[in-house]
């Protein structure tokens, strides 16, 4: 008898776990995949647009610039450029057009598209 019940329980539990995983994770993993892809594109853009020549950025080779603020722990900051609330949307606008936030600042408008700026923001906010 104990043998039979354990035989029944194991696939039963497995099925239950599988069902729970499917219901709870399927939509989340889709969103997660998109977020991961955005972060990955952002990592590449941060390298291509040479952000590291002015900023220290953890995880980016040679990113040891001393012109702008270090970007470690950006997600924990309360303000961007000391002026804007630190939200992904504000960070995206700042990366795309910093001169419209800090007119005459050292950081130039580098010609990133809205989507590129959003990816770069996603990457920078993902760094601990």
């Amino acid at each position: 008898m104990p043998k039979l019940s354990s035989r029944l329980q194991v696939p039963g539990l497995g099925f239950l776990a599988g069902a729970v995983a499917l219901v709870s994770c399927a939509p989340a993993s889709q969103a997660q995949r998109q977020a991961d892809a955005s972060v990955e594109r952002g990592r590449r853009l941060v390298g291509q647009f040479a952000c590291g020549s002015c900023h220290q950025i953890p995880g980016v080779l040679g990113a040891d610039g001393t012109v702008g603020p270090p970007l470690r722990g950006l997600a924990r900051r309360s303000a961007i450029a000391g002026l804007l609330d630190n939200t992904p949307e504000n960070l995206t606008s700042f990366i795309r057009l910093p001169q419209s936030v800090v007119k005459g600042g050292v950081m130039p408008d580098m010609g990133l598209t809205e989507a590129e700026a959003a990816d770069a923001a996603a990457y920078l906010l993902s760094r601990s």
Binding site: R44, G47, Q48, F49, A50, G52, S53, C54, L61, G62, D64, G65, T66, V67, Q99, G104, G105, V106, M107, P108, D109, M110, G111
Partner: protein, 197 residues
Amino acid sequence: MADQGDTRGEHRRRRLADGAACYLAGVVTVIALGLAIVATGAFDVSASAPHIRVVGWALRTTMVNSVKARAEPLPLEAPLDPAQVRAGFRIYDRECAPCHGGPGVPRDRWVSGLIPTPPYLIDASRRWTPGELFWIVRHGVKMTAMPAWCVQRSDAELKSVTAFLVALPALTPEAYARLRAAEAAPPAAEAPPPSSC
């Protein structure tokens, strides 16, 4: 006793032979792997994807150490000659800024398609000595887009560019824009011959 000594000697010789064989096998493997990468096209030369991390590190570190090993000191003392800095600015703004930008001035967008991508140089003189900057500008860097400017410019001109780089950390975007406005008129003087290094 003599018998035992012989055995020991033979044992040592055999260990030495084994070690040499092992070493040789290692060297042959490394050469074979290298040739395989060269011959099969396994290495991705596209500039649309970044280097894998270890390759990026190796290339960058090689460049930094190569420059530091070769550059000679260049005396550029604290009160820089303003005329020299302005002469350097004229060359920088026309020939360097498209790839390296400036204070408040972006690089051309296509430059983001280069690997390695040319850095902004605003604090370059805090990472490199004047001698090292002069060396890089004069000789360029292999396997990057940085040319040897000695082909185009005299040493005096390249020293002016170096002086401008030394002045750059203290130059505000407004000051850079003022220099641009002041130098809008094309220079009349004929350029000296290149240094042909």
